[in-house]
């Protein structure tokens, strides 16, 4: 049984439904990439898993989220709180703003140890410094006593990762952990996360808009468009043969070495806002293979082993093995 099993997750905020029947699972020691453009509902998925939707005025309207056998949807708030930071940890997008600016970073990491593992202040401090050292922060003891504004973005994100690890979690949800960082630092952070998963047997849900990160780090990938699954499969299968037009477009956008300069490819159109989702297949306005059927009928999700796909066109000419 997978550590995290999400089935037909639907999220509503007010009268809108930004997430519709999202289904996936993550095993221990594996990395699932959740891919989509901004506005596709990736962060909402993270919030839903953490049980933090009420902070946004939203809720899970349907579906199930099972973590290690326990159903999280509808879970008592105290029990959910006991999970957060302890067994499920979150790494957010912007390290510039996710640390408390008037508290020393060390104390912010210690807090997790004291709260969730019952450590004394001294023990928590020792453990935090150890974590920072493992994350390759030089002179961790000094850094422990610094304020966030005294550090670079990359350092801050390592602090956030340390905060996530301090509770000794089994599942980490990383919401675009490298988007706000320099390109040079991005690769380092991704590598740190990958190493953590392999060494400690963690499960990692890696949310990103960057297919090249998925190629580099993930075992499985789920492509999300406008709140719905477009396609999901193992990384090898997807990159070998992506069947959904959106997945194909995303992969085509990855810049390759040797590409002629000025020839960066994009996908025409922009991601629609939740209030203006198209009828039928939500991707059809931007799809080069769209047919009449796509405008009116919502494509059903088809499942073959590890492959999931929701598309009218792809199934027509697909070759499944």
């Amino acid at each position: 049984m997978a550590l995290l099993e999400v089935r037909d997750l639907c999220v509503t905020i007010g009268s809108l439904q930004p997430l519709d029947r999202v289904t996936f699972s993550v095993d221990k020691g594996s990395i699932l990439g959740l891919v989509g453009e901004s506005g596709s509902g990736k962060s909402l998925t993270a919030m839903a898993l953490m049980g933090l939707l009420p902070l946004l005025g939203g809720r899970v309207s349907q579906g199930s989220v099972r973590f290690d056998g326990t159903e999280l949807v509808g879970l008592d708030s105290e029990r959910y709180r006991a999970l957060r930071g302890r067994r499920i940890a979150l790494i957010t997008q912007n390290p510039m703003t996710s640390l408390d600016p008037i508290q020393r970073v060390g104390a912010q990491i210690d807090q997790v140890g004291i709260l969730h593992r019952g450590l004394t202040a001294a023990d928590a401090r020792a453990r935090s410094i150890e974590l920072l050292t493992q994350l390759r922060i030089p002179d961790a003891a000094t850094v422990h006593g610094q304020y966030p504004h005294q550090m670079s973005g990359g350092m801050k994100q390592r602090v956030v990762i340390a905060m996530a690890l301090a509770g000794d979690p089994e599942l980490i949800i990383a919401d675009e952990p490298t988007t706000a960082l320099d390109v040079t630092i991005q690769a380092q952070i991704i590598q740190i996360l990958v190493d953590l998963v392999r060494q400690r047997g963690l499960a990692l849900l890696l949310i990103t808009h960057d297919m090249s990160v998925v190629a580099q780090a993930c075992d499985q990938v789920l492509v999300l468009y406008a709140g719905r699954i477009a396609e999901s499969n193992t990384v090898e299968a997807i990159f070998a043969q992506a069947l959904h037009p959106y997945t194909q477009a995303l992969i085509a956008c990855i810049p390759r070495s040797g590409q002629a300069s000025g020839s960066l490819r994009g996908i025409t159109g922009i991601v629609p806002s939740v209030a203006s989702y198209a009828g039928g297949c939500r991707y059809h306005p931007r799809c080069s293979l769209a047919q009449a059927r796509c405008q009116t009928e919502v494509p059903a999700t088809q499942v073959h082993n590890t492959h999931r796909i929701a598309c009218h066109v792809a199934t027509a000419g697909a070759a499944h093995g």
């Binding site: 953490m50 006991a82 930071g85 957010t92 703003t97 996710s98 408390d100 008037i102 997790v112 905060m163």
Partner: protein, 308 residues
């Protein structure tokens, strides 16, 4: 930080001079001969001549101002017409009462205001929040001197819990402090609540939730600390208001103090006293605002950059 303090103190000088000019000119703008506004009726020509010499009233205005400033620096604020005593003495007698009232009112406003505002934010949309909002509405719209009179009516006249007026016992401080304080509480509570709600929307608060901390703990240990900066800002801007409130309330409760002194001498046209009181009050406002600015700068390094 020291640099900022010095710069701010230096800025005080031109401000003080400007205010002192206005106050100095009061005697000259009032209809009638300045000399007649400074002496009692029926003074002899010799007494008048002595005054002319003391204040240089036969000199051009600028020189008179200089004389006035010089007198100020030696503590000579003139003599009260009606009471025939040095103005400085009168002020020295009344100042402690005003300080006591103002200081307590400020303390009350700050502590109770922050507490109620924080409670309202933590229990947002509950009956606690709604009651605090109603309190804020009342506190900010009801005229303070009417509130004072109501307090007297209810607590002093009907219930006889507190004295009606005067400053003989410490219990006489309760109603005046409450009256001024209510207004202050409304202001501080409103800012605290708004600041806390605003800060709660920030990313780091989301992270605190993700770490598994309880809502109460997040609000009171983290958000409240952040909210203190806007609160200090508003307090330092509105210190002048507490002084204004004290002036009014002293009169309502017939307490001794700079406020009562000012108003009674205005009614009696005792201009030397009026000038002395106005000057003291103006200095109090300037010092209060300065203190507020310095505390703000101490709390937030960004403020120190913004000196014009």
């Amino acid at each position: 930080m020291l640099n900022y303090c010095l710069r701010r103190l230096l800025l005080l000088v031109p401000v003080f001079l400007a205010v002192s000019v206005v106050i100095f000119l009061i005697i000259h703008w009032v209809p009638g001969d300045p000399i007649d506004n400074m002496v009692q009726i029926g003074s002899s020509p010799e007494q008048k001549a002595a005054l002319v010499a003391r204040y240089g009233l036969d000199q051009p205005l600028l020189v008179q101002y200089g004389v006035w400033l010089r007198n100020l620096s030696t503590g000579d604020l003139g003599d009260a017409i009606i009471l025939r005593r040095p103005v400085l003495e009168l002020i020295a007698e009344n100042l402690p009462h005003s300080l006591r009232l103002g200081g307590l009112a400020f303390l009350f406003s700050t502590v109770v205001g922050i507490a109620t505002g924080a409670l309202a934010a933590v229990f947002k949309d509950s009956w606690i929040d709604r009651s605090v909002m109603a309190l804020i509405l009342l506190g900010s719209t009801l005229p303070s001197f009417w509130l004072g009179l109501l307090m007297i009516l209810l607590f002093a006249v009907q219930l006889e819990w507190f004295p009606v007026s005067g400053a003989r016992t410490w219990t006489a401080l309760v109603l005046p402090v409450l009256t001024i304080g209510l207004h202050g509480v409304a202001l501080v509570a409103r800012v605290t609540r708004a600041a806390m709600l605003d800060i709660s929307r920030r990313d780091f608060v989301l992270m605190l939730h993700a770490k598994g901390l309880s809502h109460q703990r997040i609000q009171l240990q983290h958000v409240l600390r952040h909210a203190m900066l806007p609160v200090v800002t508003i307090l330092s801007l509105r210190i002048g208001w507490i002084i204004g409130g004290a002036v009014t309330i002293e009169y309502v409760f017939a307490r001794p103090g700079l406020g009562s002194l000012l108003i009674t001498s205005l009614a009696q046209r005792d201009y030397p006293v009026v000038q002395g009181c106005l000057l003291m009050l103006a200095i109090a406002v300037m010092l209060g605002t300065l203190l507020g600015d310095l505390v703000q700068a101490g709390m937030d390094p960004r403020v120190r950059e913004h000196l014009r």
